[in-house]
């Protein structure tokens, strides 16, 4: 709750200052962005409120097939004595999809340590690699298997898109991982990776918010997490109340936008314009 109170205090002060006639001017506040600002504030408050509420209430989340299959993939890899290959997407650590992927990796690494499965993690950026190493190391320690952690299993594959794809294709063909888990934002290399993995008979689970790559993953992978299902993955796997609360706030935000869309469509269809909405 202290985050929320800080936010409200900061916003109130800022609004007071910026809207005071003596102080306010276009230099200090871009009035054209006011609707954007208010929407951002409203949604931010919603997220923080639900994160606070999450500890007091049980929040349910619908089943995500791809994540249910993670245990199956790990079990299969352990039985076959083959590794599991986790492939990060092509965005750096400042991307939300990479953060979501790291969250999934954390949960996957914990389970891999419990099962005794060999986990390999491919990265395209050095910072993502460093974060992944920390996350996996901590996960192995939490699972009581710090000795099983091998830093070299979390490696920097290549910086270039197709060099990354070529490196991983070679790795998939040589090592024949039992499971390929691709999480993050992908581009054209998605099909190169997934199709190569399909030829080796691996279980493939993909999660991406890259809309244009979804068809390729859906056709070549056993399970695909689409769009924000990737962001929900960490909440789903950990059942962390804070993450579930954040997810609830997102759902309410989506419901609000849907309601606005319906109202707007109705207004536009019947040619009703509202001056305060700037409608033409």
């Amino acid at each position: 709750m202290h985050h929320l109170s800080h936010l409200i205090a900061a916003i109130a002060t800022l609004l007071l200052i910026l809207t005071t006639p003596a102080f306010g001017s276009d230099e200090w506040f871009d009035t054209e962005a006011l609707d954007n600002f208010l929407t951002a504030i409203a949604f931010s408050i919603l997220v923080l409120v639900y994160i606070s509420l999450a500890r007091r209430r049980d929040l349910t989340i619908r089943r995500l097939g791809g994540l249910e299959a993670l245990d199956e993939a790990l079990g299969r890899a352990t039985e076959m004595g083959k590794p599991v290959l986790f492939i990060h997407g092509l965005h750096d650590m400042n991307s939300v999809s990479t953060i979501a992927a790291v969250n999934v990796l954390s949960q996957l690494a914990r389970r891999a340590a419990e099962f005794g499965t060999h986990l390999m993690v491919a990265n395209r950026y050095p910072i993502v690699m460093s974060v992944s190493q920390e996350v996996v190391k901590e996960a192995f320690a939490d699972a009581g298997r710090p000795d099983a952690y091998n830093e070299q299993d979390i490696f920097f594959a290549a910086a270039d898109q197709f060099s990354y794809a070529a490196t991983l294709d070679g790795l998939i063909v040589r090592e024949e991982p039992a499971a390929n888990i691709m999480m993050g934002y992908f581009y054209a290399e998605s099909l190169l990776l997934a199709e190569t993995g399909a030829t080796t008979g691996a279980i493939q689970i993909a999660g991406t918010d890259a809309y244009t790559q979804l068809p390729f993953f859906i056709t070549t992978c056993d399970y695909t997490l689409m769009g924000e299902e990737l962001y929900a993955a960490s909440a789903y796997l950990s059942r962390d109340p804070k993450l579930l609360g954040s997810l609830k706030a997102q759902d309410i935000g989506k419901a609000a936008i849907t309601a606005l869309l319906i109202v707007g469509t109705f207004l536009a269809t019947f040619g009703i314009s509202l001056p305060f909405l700037g409608a033409s």
């Binding site: 092509l90 965005h91 270039d160 898109q161 197709f162 934002y185 581009y187 054209a188 030829t199 809309y211 244009t212």
Partner: protein
């Protein structure tokens, strides 16, 4: 019939190879009609005024892997700009884009007798991705104090009057991924309100349709087909128009395989029961 539902993929690869190779060797004409998204970029650039000093910024955000698909559109737009005697500033957000951009700029400039420094310049590459766009939007010289050859921007006719991205009459980003069009929209067009057109690989084009409808993107060149349409508009068919032949035949072959696969699937279901 069951075997036909599971053909060895190498036969498919061979068929695709032949379907691409033969049309490259055998010439035939296919009409190319410009779509509204491509025509929008053409119309905007055509409306620019060289006498008023209108400058076009082109960002070459692609590497060698997508060169074949994106170079033709870069060349077509450049030809349009040089033909209209517009000033052109080149930049790239990718280190591997430097060699590509330099080659494209110098090759097309040579066709029109354009002079480096007077008619076009190349800023080169700096690290930072979207942050570089922010820098350029605030103050061009904060991002690039010199061009790629080390000449201060104030010493070049093209860049002397330019202070930031807002001074560009048109910005065209040609990209194959990240950093690319979305970054130019989020960190460039949304903040500094310049006119932005985009070129991208065909698979990425649907990603940017929402931005076209919202007006954040002026127009869109999607893949080799988009480049072919632009070449048709400027009346100078080149690699993209030629590329439409193998692309067309390739698409038809893939469709035939899909249909064949479905026929075999339904036939095997009927033969073997459900």
């Amino acid at each position: 019939m069951a075997n036909l539902t599971n053909i060895d993929r190498r036969w498919i690869f061979l068929a695709v190879f032949i379907s691409v190779l033969v049309p490259l060797l055998v010439g035939f004409h296919l009409p190319v009609k410009a779509s509204p998204n491509v025509r929008a970029i053409y119309t905007s650039i055509d409306a620019l005024d060289a006498k008023a000093g209108d400058t076009v910024l082109m960002s070459f955000d692609f590497g060698p892997s997508t060169l074949t698909e994106l170079q033709p559109m870069a060349k077509a737009v450049l030809r349009h700009c040089f033909r209209k005697k517009l000033k052109v500033v080149g930049v790239t957000l990718l280190p591997e884009g430097v060699g590509i951009a330099e080659t494209i700029l110098s090759d097309v400039a040579a066709e029109f007798g354009a002079t480096y420094g007077e008619d076009y310049i190349f800023l080169g590459y700096k690290a930072g991705n979207e942050v570089l766009i922010l820098n350029m939007g605030e103050e061009l010289r904060a991002a690039f104090s010199t061009d790629v050859r080390g000449t201060p921007l104030d010493d070049l006719t093209v860049t002397r009057p330019l202070r930031s991205l807002g001074d560009m009459a048109y910005v065209l980003d040609i990209s194959a991924g990240y950093p690319g069009v979305e970054e130019w929209i989020q960190y460039g067009q949304e903040r500094y309100r310049f006119k932005l057109g985009a070129g991208c690989t065909a698979v990425m084009a649907p990603d940017f349709f929402p931005f076209l409808q919202s007006g954040q993107l002026d127009g869109l060149l999607g893949g080799l087909a988009g480049a072919a349409e632009y070449e048709t508009l400027i009346g100078q068919p080149d690699a993209a128009v030629s590329g439409m032949r193998p692309q067309s035949v390739g698409h038809v072959v893939i469709i035939l395989f899909i249909l064949f696969g479905n026929v075999a699937y339904f036939a095997s279901r009927r033969g073997g029961g459900s």
